[in-house]
Symmetry: C2
Subunit: 435 residues, 2 copies
């Protein structure tokens, strides 16, 4: 039997071992999904802390139910390790490492490169490899393939198969999770696509196959660029509407009644998280290689970057209406997660606004039931308990994230001044300044 | 009884007379809708031709069924006239005049201004007036109101009521037409809103009331700006994808499998029609008054304006692959309407591409079952019959509009070279060059 036949045979007997590289919000749910499908799964991560937690059945990803994680760990379907030499035990390797931007907004490919080197050093022949991390088109074929071939001495599409299948994880989404979100898969060869389809189908309800990894890479970028561009558009229209005395939130509610050709996006203090604000710049990066200027992404990025500044001006202006300056005022931020009802403050615009307020010598406190501590500008803050006294003592309350469990009526009643950047209060007046 | 009571009384007895100013693709369906609701409707238009046609039951709007028009005309529910003095017979006036851009892409408000002057000269006190034409926010209150008050000598919200309710007509849409498309309505006063709701409810299934005309004005602009921006984004990504050897159509199909947070838009040779390419520039115009630069609309407009040029380059490049120049080649355009299955070539990007090809001394012919004759660059063309000979004689076929009744297999079989700007052929190869 050749490598392909051996692997297909294992797959048909549910005997293939799945290796997941990176156990974050993408990798861990995927690992659990394959384990639930009855496969043996090895999760790899450099963090001893994460690995120990999982091996003790201790769940750190909100979208996974604790009981489900404990079950797959207890049944030894899922084991996790920091020992990357165990890559050789795996028949399929799914790479779920971060792809951030560096300080100059250039793609930071070192996680992918490092994963490929490690894989090349330890993999056995006959392995299926798939990247899940968002990246620029051509990454799989032009960056990963040469690294893996060089470090392994094996030949792509002969001794191993390489594919790209972008994650579509939407943290906090209660309807769509890893299993029931259709998944796009593009492989270099027909054989790779066939193998990948058989493997992924065990953990994912619906696959959509495309003709190449670079098509799949572009799919993910299109999805997130669409969001960046539309949020930036509505932010720009919100700023103009503010100047014109038009309530943009009312406008959006009305536009939503159009039953075709419209999808609502909402303004806010900026775009956070690990996808929307970053992914389009992956494309901008590779476009330069093709002498191409992406003016829509450029304009959208510009607006998004300026939003925390505009919001800081809004706070300044609200305080000014009470004859107060930022300097010396108590400013209480409600919600610092990058979106509602999740425990993730990465790239959160709230942090940028807090930093700007701190620079102006504002006294910052915050409340977020999901984020107990917060470190920014070298200082660590603890979420305060939201009492009448806390609200009354604040010169200005800034609602940066609209968590569902905020008691808005109580907050409005006890506050002196509110800058509501999320239309959480759904009102406007002397007390409430709304975006 | 005061004016309001008199009008409400008429409305309750279905005795109010509706005047529709402008009998185009917005006004005529609206007039028919009110007539079908059993009201007496007077349609006003400066075009004797249009007025005569309707009075003879001769329908010129594809989205209205001929039998329905004939019925409301025969039952004398709908009469049309070029005599604007009959405005005095009306209890409600709905303005459906064009709002184009001038040569410098500035809003051409003369149609609205002229309608307001005429209304002011002839209206009776106690009339409800609503503008349906797309325009920039503040038009109703700051442009229309003073003109009507001045020419009529009447007082807004005392002697008459002024409102804004944007049309949402989507020509060719077989699911949503005037009656079953929810309609947004904003009035200056509470009384105007109450009256407007009662009147419009007779012809429209669902109304969405907003707090002011300027909110309603912004709603319409948001809806169409959303479309301009997204079509421009996908056009820009299509151009980059072309350079990278990625099939953007395949990318979009795959992205569409994401069950949340994505709406598909498709690339094309540019944006046509009377709304999407124009409306956002209404907002850009008024934004300047507020010292505001709309960078997203600016970038989107720029891409859209350049698309016909890029498409001309694509034709040049396709011909070049056959060792031919545009100069002297027979270039046959399939579809010149601005979108599929409609008979409207206004602002169609096909016209701009044809003009560019003519400047390069290409020999242009076209085929469009919906557009029998076409005048551009001072010359009139007639749609040719699509025979094997016609297709074989063309050096290049350019598919500019994807009408449903094109026989694509026949076209591909008989052609030498196709530039497919709409993915009508759903293939790519030596013969077919796809956007």
């Amino acid at each position: 039997m050749n490598y392909k036949e051996i692997l297909l045979d294992k797959i048909s007997q549910n005997m293939e071992v799945i290796g997941i590289i990176g156990l974050g919000y993408v990798g861990l749910p995927l690992a659990v999904g394959f384990a639930q499908a009855g496969l043996k799964v090895i999760g790899f991560d450099k963090s001893t802390d994460k690995v120990n937690k999982i091996n003790q059945g201790d769940n750190y990803i909100k979208d996974i139910r604790d009981a489900v994680l404990r079950e797959v760990v207890d049944s030894i379907k899922l084991t996790t390790t920091t020992d990357f030499t165990r890559i050789k035990e795996c028949d399929a390797l799914l790479i779920c490492v971060p792809t951030p931007l560096d300080k100059f907004r250039k793609p930071e490919m070192s996680y992918i490169e490092s994963a490929c080197k490690t894989i090349g050093q330890h993999m056995k022949a006959g392995t299926f490899i798939s990247l899940e991390s968002t990246t620029y088109p051509t990454t799989t074929e032009e960056l990963m393939l040469p690294i893996i071939e060089k470090t392994s001495g094996l030949k792509s599409e002969v001794d191993f198969w390489l594919a790209y299948s972008p994650e579509r994880v939407d943290p906090g989404n209660v309807t769509f999770h890893t299993k029931n979100t259709p998944k796009v898969l593009g492989a270099i060869s027909k054989e790779g696509l066939e193998i990948g389809e058989k493997i992924y189908s065990k953990a994912i309800d619906k696959l959509h196959l495309v003709s190449s990894p670079k098509v799949a890479e572009m799919v993910k970028i299109l999805e997130n660029t669409y969001r960046l561009v539309n949020i930036s558009l509505i932010n720009e229209l919100a700023l103009l509407s503010g100047k014109m005395g038009i309530d943009i939130w009312e406008v959006i509610e009305a536009a939503k009644t159009k039953p075709f050709g419209f999808q609502a996006f909402y303004p806010g203090p900026g775009i956070g998280g690990h996808c929307i604000p970053l992914d389009p710049f992956y494309l901008e990066h590779i476009a330069k290689k093709y002498d191409f200027d992406l003016s829509m992404i450029h304009a959208a990025g510009h607006i998004n970057m300026r939003m925390p500044n505009y919001m800081t001006n809004k706070i300044t202006s609200a305080l000014n209406s009470h004859k107060k300056s930022v300097n010396g005022s108590n400013i209480l931020f409600l919600g610092v997660a990058y979106k509602p009802n999740i425990d993730d403050a990465r790239e959160s615009p709230a942090l940028q606004i807090i930093d700007l307020i701190l620079k102006k010598n504002g006294q910052v406190t915050y409340h977020d039931p999901y984020i107990p501590t917060l470190t920014t500008a070298g200082k660590t803050y603890h979420s305060v308990h939201l009492t009448s006294e806390v609200l009354q003592e604040a010169d200005c309350i800034v609602i940066t994230t609209n968590h569902a469990d905020f008691d808005i009526d109580f907050i409005v009643k006890e506050s002196n001044l509110i800058v509501d950047l999320r239309n959480a209060t759904q009102r406007r007046g002397n007390k409430v300044h709304k975006l």
